[in-house]
């Protein structure tokens, strides 16, 4: 294991500390918590957006805290949902009186912990609603859509919901926007290598030097197809094909695209993938309204990428294009 870390058990905490030290213009760390909140939190009268999950996916989630994005974010240990108590405390710190919208990837551990925090908040009369992000096409068939896990599509859902909250929508309104974004987003990942968990020093799965796995999850959950690594255009072709088979986008519609790196894949490869995606979408008659290429939701030092596509209507487009600023994402 070759990592620039100190204590392998302190990676999550020291990551958040470093983030908060690096970007004080956007956010601050809460005392004694592995959590950050908008520098100006709580924003009175605004629905507060709280995101979170296990660490190891940086910049997701904490890097997307700021104006027009999440109000706060709680990080658990590597690949481990944070416990209820810090979720609860962070929610309290960002609550501006208009309720809390919890946004996180649909994983059993996150559901259990966030639900319990929601209970604690509910007991105090704080209005809470939840949208579990489930963009990963590879993780369940269409008829079990709600069982799917969340991957880089988290970004689109948080962006859209936060923009709606920024417009001073009430909790129902912000929740509806998040749900619409989630309903409209599909993702597909491909892994070339396993990541190495700092605390164990080991890879989490084996993959030969010649192979890739399409559909691999952000924590190494097995995917839908393992086989020889193909040229980028073919990899993108297979991924986009599976996404479009699942996403009911019709020719003439607009979409947003995110080509996301998993941590160890350099930007040049992501641009080569985007080049292919762009052509494939044009061939499908879809027009790309806005595209993003970079590391948004990583899996430690895994090599590979994911492609996320969000189908846009005029509301989603407005919310996606709304300004935002945070350590990992700025839009004017």
């Amino acid at each position: 294991m070759k990592k620039l870390i100190n204590d392998p058990y302190a990676v999550a905490v020291q990551t958040i500390e470093g983030l908060a030290l690096a970007y004080p213009q956007y956010l601050r760390q809460l005392d004694n918590l592995t959590a950050v909140v908008r520098q100006d939190a709580p924003v009175s009268g605004k629905v507060a957006i709280l995101s979170g999950g296990g660490s190891g996916h940086e910049p997701m989630f904490a890097g997307f805290v700021g104006r027009g994005l999440a109000d706060g974010s709680v990080a658990g240990n590597i690949f481990t949902s944070p416990p209820p108590q810090p979720i609860y405390q962070t929610a309290k710190a960002i609550h501006g009186g208009a309720g809390i919208l919890l946004l996180y990837g649909n994983y059993s551990g996150d559901v259990l912990n966030f639900d319990m925090a929601a209970e604690m908040l509910g007991r105090e009369g704080i209005k809470v609603s939840t949208v579990r992000i489930s963009d990963d096409v590879a993780s369940a068939p269409p008829d079990r859509w709600g069982d799917r896990r969340g991957i880089a599509g988290d970004f689109f859902v948080i962006k859209v919901a936060a923009a709606r909250a920024e417009e001073k929508a009430d909790l129902n309104g912000a929740t509806a926007a998040a749900e619409k974004a989630n309903d409209s987003t599909r993702s597909m990942g491909v892994a070339l290598t396993s990541c190495v968990i700092p605390a164990s020093g080991r890879t989490i799965f084996e993959i030969s030097d010649q192979d890739m796995e399409i559909g691999m999850g952000l924590h190494g959950e097995p995917g839908v197809q393992r086989g020889a690594l193909l040229p980028a255009d073919q990899v993108a072709g297979e991924m986009v094909r599976r996404i479009l088979a699942d996403l009911p986008a019709r020719p003439g519609e607009e979409v947003a695209v995110l080509v996301n790196g998993l941590g160890a894949t350099p930007l040049c490869e992501l641009f080569i993938i985007f080049r292919a995606v762009s052509r494939l979408l044009r061939e499908a008659g879809l027009s790309v309204c806005r595209s993003y290429v970079g590391n948004y939701a990583t899996s430690l030092d895994m090599a590979g990428c994911s492609i996320s596509i969000m189908r846009l209507d005029s509301e989603l487009k407005r919310l996606l294009l709304a300004p935002a600023e945070s350590p990992a994402f700025i839009q004017g």
Binding site: Y9, G54, S81, P83, P84, S108, L112, S200
Partner: protein, 215 residues
Amino acid sequence: MPKLNITPPDLRRILCFVAEAIGKEEAYLNSLDGAIGDGDHGITMRVGFEAVKAKVGALDASVTIDGVLTESGAAFMGATGGAIGVLLGRMLMSAGAALQGCKEIGTSELRVLLNSMETAVASAGKAKPGDKTILDAVHAANQAVATTAEADQSLPNMLSRASLAAGTAAQNTAGMRARVGRASRLGDRVLGHPDPGAVSFSIIMRAMAQWLEEN
């Protein structure tokens, strides 16, 4: 001659003993989780039980059984996160609530304890026996003590039956497909791999039974 009751100081020692047993299996539990989940289960279990150990070491001498259980559950849940944090945390806290004011764990308290644990994990996780989760091991342990014949009812004996039943159940999860949790998306690919949470619970039971035999 093994103890017939578990006092609050005993329980505190037992939890420290469990913490050690879990610590030794950290890598094994990680590897089980790596096969069908995200590879962190051993880390989470060790960190959680270290917090439990620290917590029970700091409790007042006057603490009762339910106090130890409730505080341990809160400590575990607060220190870990993940699915297992809530589940095992709730199991311990529910047992505490069910044994309100209890000064010793004897045979009937053990039944209450395991029964409340099964109820807690089932209601929190919404899993059923056979879904390839920790519940399978908890359910088996609970069944084993609930069905112990009158004549065989001693604490060491019942704990040893619970330990055996949990161990067998954990191994049996290898033959199951998962319906909840991370592994639920993997279909047939999880066959042959036991569920890490179930194995953890069997380790806890085994450590408890062993401690009782040795003390």
